[in-house]
Amino acid sequence: MRQKLVRPRYLGLVLLALLWFLLPIYYPSGYVVSTAVLMGIYAIIALGYNIVMGNTGIYSFGHAAFFGVGGYTVAILTVNHGVDPWLAFAIAPFMAALAGLLVGLTSIRLSHFHLAMATIAFNVILTNLNFNWIGLFGSESGIGPMGKLSIAGLRLETDFRYFYLTWTFVVIVLWVTQNLVRSHLGRAMAAVREDEVAASTSGVNVVGIKLMAFVVSAFLAGVAGALLAFYMPYVGPRPFTVGLSIMLFVMVCIGGQGNAWGSLLGAALLTVLPEFLRTVAGFPAIPQEIRMVLSNPSYHLVVYGLLLIVFLTYLPQGLVGIRLRWWRRLIQRQPAAAAQPAESHV
């Protein structure tokens, strides 16, 4: 691949840093920052999910379960057992990774569709337990009230402070996953994704690599779950259903599979889009009847769905794919190759 293509990565990092510093200063509270916090949390799970789905080519539809294991671990430990918040925060990802290992051991050898189903099944089972096992998970209302994290005596109770914590994690996770993909392990994952038989004949332990990818991404989902738990007043079952697992798939696909920046973009887009549509609905120039329709949350999801359909029929490489194509056209003055699976060299 052309070396030049690496450079925009730093541009992205600079932009991210700028956003990171400027956004909370312009909007110190409320809406925008809280959206940005959630965006960061989703970005972390999406980055983790990208390792499994994008880099290794495993379709899991149960990653919200690991997110939930992280969140509930924190809630149960801190609220019911009085464990120190940071200690609970540190334990949560390992619990999620353990859950990932268990699910992985039972289902990693299955073929695509079967694995997707097995992971959905685990997600449904966990959600059902969350709703019904009142003694452990506190049913629908959840566990709480949650305490807050504090750093050196500074309680992270405002959105403004939590924003910095979350996005610090996003940057770390981004850095780790980018490096992971370039490592020996990452290359083995790519080999498994492209052709399992070929990978195993060249000495890659296919099942081991898949399991590893699964555990790593479950770990990251656990980090995100812990972050969410300390952000919410109560930890309940709603954020951890199959619906989110499906959304993760959408985020990673929209961004462009196997591309960490793409996952980040996908998570950002899917978090911001509803807010954006709500804002559009608020414009006074738009007639009252249309505004009524626009402010309906279902309408946002209809737009999502339509966007997906349009995307897929016209832009199969995802958002980052567009840029790659333009870039190539600019540099090489050649038409881009169409409909190749997204390559992870950005």
Binding site: F113, M117, A118, N132, F249, S298, L301, V302, G305, L308
Partner: protein, 287 residues
């Protein structure tokens, strides 16, 4: 004891219509290798159409399967012809994503049109029952079971005996081979998706007399159909049927043994066990 027998009977009766729903999914997957994530939502559209016909024109849901079946057939065929056929060469995940998009649109348009509250088709016979020994039979459930069985049998005969059915089976067994002997594969795809969708649309109508539904019911039925197809064995007609009955029974037994809200767990634990010990499914051929 009779409580459990009762639960098994009820589950068996509901399972029949689950089977019909899963047969539709199995057909779509078998022919196109497309995972229809909008399966449950297509069913919900069938249910609302049935409801609407019942409320406005007083058409009995058991009669309106003709209308809902054809309407959802057209919906499915349109999705295949207009969308899926365009990206047949794209990677598999793109097709999943496309179907997720269709599911989102269908579910949320339904939410916008009808709102989130559960609806129920209250027929005059909704609560009528009859006794057979110590067991109570709900009349609507028995009727639904009978009709679902008849439709499934009809589908079976269609696939086995007619030319179109043979074309569909040929495309499902070996796409390139079917193409080589002159099958119009795109037409077969459109037809197969339409028939699969019609199954689930009809199943939706058949369930309305005893099952309250709302737009968000769709995802549950999508996932349940996947569950059934895998338990029974991918690509096996009989497997999907047996899987439907099993899932129906395990759900209603689960509601009795555990709490009603935990009924899903039993069928999903069953799924995990099947995947662990017999991943090709109960009647699957193990490919």
């Amino acid at each position: 004891m009779s409580l459990y027998v009762q639960a098994i009977v009820n589950g068996f009766l509901v399972g029949g219509v689950y089977s019909l729903m899963a047969l539709g999914l199995s057909l779509i997957f078998g022919v196109m290798r497309v995972i229809n994530f909008a399966h449950g939502d297509m069913m919900v559209w069938g249910m609302y159409l049935s409801y609407w016909l019942f409320v406005t024109a007083g058409v009995d849901p058991y009669l309106s399967i003709l209308v809902t079946g054809s309407a959802v057939f057209l919906l499915g065929a349109a999705v295949q012809k207009g969308l899926v056929n365009r990206i047949l060469d794209a990677p598999h995940e793109m097709q999943i994503l496309l179907m997720l998009g269709v599911a989102l649109v269908l579910e949320n348009v339904a939410l916008m049109v009808w709102g989130p509250d559960p609806r129920r088709v209250s027929t005059t016979y909704a609560l009528s029952t009859f006794w057979l020994g110590p067991i109570v039979f709900d009349l609507p459930k028995v009727a639904t079971f009978g009709l679902a069985l008849a439709l499934a049998l009809g589908l079976y005969l269609f696939l086995k005996k007619t030319d179109l059915g043979r074309m569909i089976r040929a495309a499902s067994d070996n796409q390139i081979g079917a193409l080589l002997v002159g099958t119009d594969i795109l037409k077969v795809f459109t037809l197969a998706f339409g028939i699969g969708a019609a199954c689930v649309g009809a199943a939706g109508s058949l369930m309305t007399p005893f099952l309250p539904f709302s737009p968000s019911t769709g995802l549950f039925f999508t996932v349940t159909s996947f569950n059934i197809v895998i338990i029974g064995g991918m690509g096996s007609f009989l497997g999907a049927f047996v899987g439907g009955l099993l899932v129906g029974m395990s759900e209603s037994l689960g509601a009795v043994i555990l709490v009603p809200s935990l009924k899903e767990i039993v069928s999903f634990v069953l799924l995990v066990l099947i995947l662990l010990f017999r991943p090709q499914g109960l009647l699957g051929s193990g490919r």
